[in-house]
């Protein structure tokens, strides 16, 4: 188990900035511009095909209703009947458009991915040497050679050699990464380019099922299957549709009984206004956009089901190293020994590390700069010093400058007096690493290196707690160290001295209690746990085994991404729930608009219900139909972006969403229909 990333070392500033970006509460919006509407128009027209409409029961009813009204409008043409027919068709069109826009954004991504698939020629190793075959004719188990400048022809594992690989085509990250045989950095992806050296790759996936292929299918929504919650919601929406169908169909005999028979056009208009067209029209766009938001964050999910499951996570297993802490031990304190002043120690430590490119060395300089105001860059005089690199024999590094030989290194490499030894032991006991600094053999003091918790982690875990998610830190450290870091980071629990089996056992135990568990991993020995977890996010830098086992792959190999994935999963469900509530709440105003319009002629007292003071029965009905259609277009951006999600507890979320989408859904159409009626009243022939 490892979480080493082979990404070129970022400076702490870079990492912090990146981290801060990830910290943004709001799962950021995918951009939406009206141009997309236009571009998606042809696709939207194609979706008028009844076979396509059948997949969405609510919109199919609108489609049939539009046809029915058109037939009756042709038989009895008037401004009103034609206008109703046109707006009913527009309702269907807007629903198609919502879906087409969502798909269109995926298509654009798919196109750019396809470019990476430009038919690579593979150099397949045969018994006698090698042959050139198209990448599409490779089989699982084939060995292919890739040299600098060549495109890797398929997904596989490096079995021989080491190379730097440009994976920007997939990850968008321009810095090359190292791929080597053995270990946890052996997986390569078809369509990426080797930049140096020569590697032999064993192909692990069939052509057409490769990573890029799956990614294309995913973003295009070609294999989109309805997720469990989406199916359940569709059943609920169908139920509502049946109820309203009954209510409207039964209304005709009641109307005849009361002496006010209604036209089919008016009844159909009422039906379309009542059934949950808003959510019906936007439902599939919400699903596609949810996947799209994941892809935009460079996360690839194998199914929409996994994304939904992410929203349900109860327990999050996070590796300590690289996720909760920076992964590199950093200098956090200088402790002078004997009679040395702190300034002397700081100066010596800085000098010893100026030319030291290791993360530890750089962290020492940084501490000198940030806490003691020393210069980050060496002066010209300091540059004349000779750097002495670390070797396994000396177990120290340093600088020879002007007759001084300053060294820093492992405590065991120096002879220490009692007091220094005490300092060293104390640091070790607290889970830190002591580095002794000496000048010409005289020990000046000790640098404390410790695991530094990334900034903002405590807040993130607090948010997760508010969302009801328990975080468990997994580390190979001893329990004492683990406890200290767990307390500092604010995780709920930790698993110390963890072996892969322990992680697996923990997941099983949580699941046995009915909880859903998410984890990240990259090593081959993580694969069983990744497969066992309900949401397993494999790092793209990991092995093929890990990537196969998980149900998501993070192309950025950023373990904190899991938190965002959870948010996206939740946001997806919330958007569906909120728009369903909005859609149903809208009906109240529509009753107030349409029922008086239909029946005030036979029961004048019903005009008291016309509280919007709509101009005429015809304009009232038409206004309700127009509002019903337009609200779909207005809400497309929201469907694509997802409703705003702020991590908080369930009650607060529900209260907020009920207020905005429930109460808002009741009030909005009153204003909307009233406004539209003002405009519709200007049309000659109506009002």
């Amino acid at each position: 188990m490892t979480t080493t990333t082979d990404r070129p070392q970022r400076t702490p500033d870079e990492v912090r900035e990146r981290h801060a970006r990830n910290l943004g509460h709001q799962v950021a919006a995918g951009l939406f511009n009206p141009e997309q509407l236009l571009k998606s128009f042809p696709d939207a027209l194609r979706k008028f095909d009844p076979r396509h409409q059948l997949r969405n029961p609510v919109m199919f009813v609108v489609w049939v209703g539009s046809l029915l009204v058109t037939v009756f409008a042709v038989g009895d043409p008037s401004v009103f009947t034609i206008a109703v027919a046109v707006w009913l068709w527009l309702t269907v069109l807007f629903a198609n458009l919502a879906e087409a826009v969502a798909e269109g954004r995926g298509k654009a991504q798919a196109d750019s991915l396809r470019k990476t698939k430009k038919d690579a020629v593979a150099r397949r190793l045969t018994e006698g040497g090698e042959e050139r075959v198209p990448g599409t004719e490779l089989h699982v188990g084939d060995l292919v050679v890739v040299e600098a400048g060549e495109v890797i022809p398929g997904d596989g594992d490096v079995v021989e050699g080491i190379a730097t690989v440009d994976e920007s085509a997939i990850t968008g990250e321009s810095a090359p990464v190292i791929r080597e045989s053995g270990g946890d950095r052996s997986a390569v992806t078809g369509g990426t380019t080797a930049l140096s050296d020569r590697i032999v790759v064993k192909i692990t996936t069939k052509p057409g099922e490769s990573f890029v292929d799956r990614m294309i299918a995913l973003v295009e929504g070609a294999q989109r299957q309805k997720t469990p919650n989406e199916i359940a919601l569709t059943i609920l929406l169908s139920t509502l549709t049946i109820i309203f169908l009954l209510a409207v169909v039964a209304l005709q005999p009641f109307a005849i009984f009361s002496g006010g028979e209604q036209s089919v056009i008016v009844l159909t208009a009422l039906l379309v206004c009542l059934i949950p067209t808003t959510i019906g029209a936007l439902l599939s766009a919400i699903g596609i956009a949810g996947m799209d938001r994941l892809v935009q964050r460079n996360v690839l999910a194998t199914s929409g089901k996994a994304v939904e499951a992410a929203g349900d996570i109860d327990t999050l297993l996070l590796d300590k190293t690289g996720t909760i802490t920076w992964g590199n031990r950093q200098a956090t304190e200088f402790i002078p020994a004997g009679g040395t002043t702190i300034d002397a120690l700081v100066d010596a430590a800085r000098l010893s590390s100026l030319a030291d490119g290791t993360p530890e060395g750089r962290s020492v300089v940084e501490l000198c700069v940030t806490r003691y105001g020393r210069a980050a860059e060496p002066t010209d005089q300091e540059k004349t010093g000779e750097f002495v690199p670390f070797t396994a024999q000396t177990r120290m590094s340093g600088i020879d400058l002007g007759g001084r030989s300053i060294r820093k290194g492992a405590a065991s490499a120096f002879t220490l007096d009692q007091s220094t030894k005490a300092i060293v032991d104390e640091i070790s006991a607290e889970g830190g690493t002591p580095l002794v600094v000496a000048d010409n053999g005289t020990v000046l003091g000790v640098i404390r290196l410790s695991d530094v918790v990334k900034p903002g982690m405590r807040e993130r875990f607090a948010e997760l707690r508010a969302m009801g998610i328990r975080t468990v830190m997994v580390t190979g450290d001893n329990p004492l160290t683990a406890k200290a870091i767990a307390a500092e980071a604010g995780v709920d629990d930790f698993l110390a001295e963890a072996k892969p089996e322990d992680k697996m056992a923990l997941i099983r135990k949580e699941q046995e209690g009915g909880k859903l568990v998410a984890m990240t991993g990259d090593g081959t020995n993580d694969a069983p746990a990744l497969a066992q977890a309900d949401v397993g996010v494999a790092m793209n830098t990991g092995t093929s085994a890990a990537k196969e086992a998980g149900n998501m792959v993070d192309l950025d190999s950023d373990p904190t991404k899991l938190i965002e994935i959870v948010e996206i999963g939740k946001q997806l469900l919330i958007t569906r729930g909120a728009l369903t509530t909005f859609s149903v709440a809208n009906d109240l105003a529509k009753y107030f608009a349409i029922l008086p319009a239909m029946f005030a002629a036979i029961y004048p007292q019903l005009d008291k219900l016309n509280i919007m003071a709509l101009g005429s029965p015809q304009s009232a009905i038409l206004s309700a139909v127009i509002f019903n259609a337009l609200v779909i277009v207005v809400l497309i951006p929201l469907a694509l972006r997802g409703v705003r999600y702020k991590p908080s507890n369930a009650s607060a979320l529900l209260r907020r969403n009920l207020l905005i989408y429930g109460l808002g859904g009741i009030v909005t159409p009153f204003a909307g229909i009233w406004l539209i009626d003002l405009l519709v009243g200007l049309i000659p022939g109506i009002g």
Binding site: I242, F244, V248, L274
Partner: protein
């Protein structure tokens, strides 16, 4: 004391009485259905019927048992009426016509107690006592059994067993309904309710019908049945002689549905889960009582169709409670209520009989509504919806949806056809909006197994007998099958532990959501129809 003060005192007494029995009675009912011991008399019954009381049933078997038992009940009741002339105590009233016998048989087996017959002239004491009263007990016990099976679905973990219908049914009758009904039959006699095997007495040369009323009156209210032994139902002085008997009867029809929320809380191991359901039921009951009371007090002819010994408050309290509990007994003519008052009574029925609803049916109906409300709420908090530790997925939503769909479907189709049938106008006392209210009320009452009549409509032609009978049967058994299916899929699930991310279902937020769902579903479904009936009347 003014009429209003007396009314408020009655409401206060009623609530106090319910509050006193709520905990002990609710917990007693919980013990009845969880106990493992069988009483001697129960053992005897199981031995005779060759039932193994310790074996449990899957949901399908449970549902088949309910259907089979009910079918036999209908057949028996039908034959009993058809061959009444051969039975003792028939007072030469002859055999009941096929249409009426079918309607009445379905009506009593489904706990509806819709009465298309005039008891004093159509039925003798044997059919009343051996047929109808028996069904008053067992149909209520069936409702209890189904409710308990659904609760077991929530409580149990990874099992396909929901309990044994025969045991649940037997215990409901023997341990709950019989003892309470027995005690209150005597109490009612003490208030002046008649108990006689004679067909009638002659008073000043006028023949006044009598019957064994008290014994049937108690279970009529306690089992939320509502079928009157005498035609005037609880408006008749022999059934409901004074305001004390009035109050006792209202107490009886509310006591089980109300206390079942305590039973529920006890069984699921969190009493607050029961209190929150009670609060929703209570608020809607109180709200509608206020509406009906106010509407009747401010009507043009406030006392038309009401008994002077009950007055407006006593009539409004009874009307509100009987329509809220699927009882259907009446102590006033709902047809004579104002547009708003009568519409309020109708709306109570259209809420789907869950505020607090019938015996058992009220609890399972409100739980189904809670499933739907929690599904939407779950989505809105970004988690796969769950309620009481059970996930609400495709199967659960489908079952809940079917259960909710049944009532409006049969109601709207039945009333829709009735409205345009040529014979209907002749069957109505009134044309126009009030006529439509009469039709709607009849089908609402049948589809919801309430059984109260708006009256003003003659329902003895073949169409009404048959269609209302079908409405009662489908309105009863389709939801029961769906509810048991829901129970089955809930019981099969692993219980999800409650975490900090779980949406709590014990607070005012959930109560608001649930009450909102009940009102919204009824309003959205029925407002178009109501607009041409009670709404048009009320806005005049």
């Amino acid at each position: 004391m003014s009429s209003t003060a007396a009314g408020l005192a009655q409401v206060g007494l009623l609530i106090a009485a319910l509050a006193v029995v709520y905990r002990p009675f609710g917990d007693y009912v919980a013990r009845v259905y969880t106990g493992t011991k069988h009483m001697k008399v129960e053992r005897a019954i199981y031995r005779t019927a060759r039932i193994d009381p310790d074996s449990e049933q899957r949901w399908g078997t449970y549902a088949l048992a309910v259907l089979g038992f009910s079918f036999v009940g209908v057949a028996f009741l039908y034959l009993l009426q058809r061959f009444q002339s051969l039975l003792p105590f028939d007072f030469d009233r002859g055999s009941v016509t096929p249409g009426m016998a079918f309607n009445t048989a379905v009506s009593f087996v489904t706990n509806t107690n819709w009465q298309s017959y005039v008891p004093e002239t159509v039925l003798g004491h044997t059919v009343q006592m051996v047929g109808l009263t028996v069904q008053n007990f067992v149909s209520a016990a069936v409702g209890l059994a189904v409710a308990v099976a659904l609760v077991r679905g929530f409580v149990r973990d990874r099992t396909d067993r929901l309990g044994n219908f025969w045991v649940d049914m037997t215990r409901g009758v023997i341990r709950i309904l019989l003892p309470v009904a027995f005690v209150f039959a005597i109490v009612l006699v003490a208030t002046g309710v008649v108990m006689s095997l004679k067909s009638g007495v002659s008073v000043d040369g006028q023949e006044v019908a009598t019957a064994p009323v008290a014994s049937q009156e108690a279970i009529k209210e306690l089992g939320t049945n509502g079928g009157g032994v005498l035609n005037a139902n609880s408006a008749h002085p022999f059934e409901n002689p004074n305001s004390w008997s009035n109050l006792i009867e209202i107490f009886l029809l509310l006591v089980i549905p109300v206390s079942l929320t305590r039973t529920f809380g006890t069984l699921v191991g969190n009493r607050k889960q029961g209190y929150v359901l009670l609060s929703v039921m209570g608020v809607l009951w109180a709200l509608m009582l206020t509406v009906i009371w106010w509407a009747e007090a401010n009507g043009i002819r406030p006392l038309e169709g009401k008994e002077l010994r009950f007055g407006i408050p006593g009539s409004a309290l009874f009307a509100n409670s009987t329509t809220d509990t699927s009882t259907g007994a009446v102590n006033a003519m709902h047809d004579s209520f104002t547009g708003l008052g009568g519409g309020g009574a109708m709306l109570n029925i259209l809420f789907g009989e869950m505020t607090p609803g019938g015996v058992g049916t009220g609890l399972y109906s409100i739980l189904v509504m809670a499933v739907i409300a929690m599904f939407l709420a779950g989505l809105m908090v970004g988690r796969t919806p769950e309620y009481l530790g059970k996930k609400l997925g495709k199967r659960e939503v489908t079952a809940a949806a079917v259960s909710i769909l049944a009532m409006p479907t049969v109601l709207l189709i039945g009333a829709g056809i009735a409205a345009i049938l040529p014979g209907t106008q002749a069957a109505l006392n009134n044309p126009g909006e009030h006529g439509l209210s009469e039709i709607l009320y009849a089908y609402a009452s049948a589809a919801n197994n309430n059984g109260s009549a708006f009256a003003g409509i003659t329902v003895t032609n073949d169409w009404f007998q048959a269609s209302l009978g079908v409405c009662m049967a489908l309105g009863r058994f389709v939801p029961i099958i769906a509810v048991l299916c829901l129970a089955g899929s809930l019981a099969a699930q692993k219980k999800v532990p409650e975490t900090a991310g779980t949406l709590p279902t014990t607070g005012p937020l959930f109560a608001t959501l649930l009450a909102g769902a009940i009102v919204l579903v009824a309003a959205l479904t029925f407002v178009p129809a109501l607009a041409l009936g009670p709404i048009a009347e009320a806005l005049l």
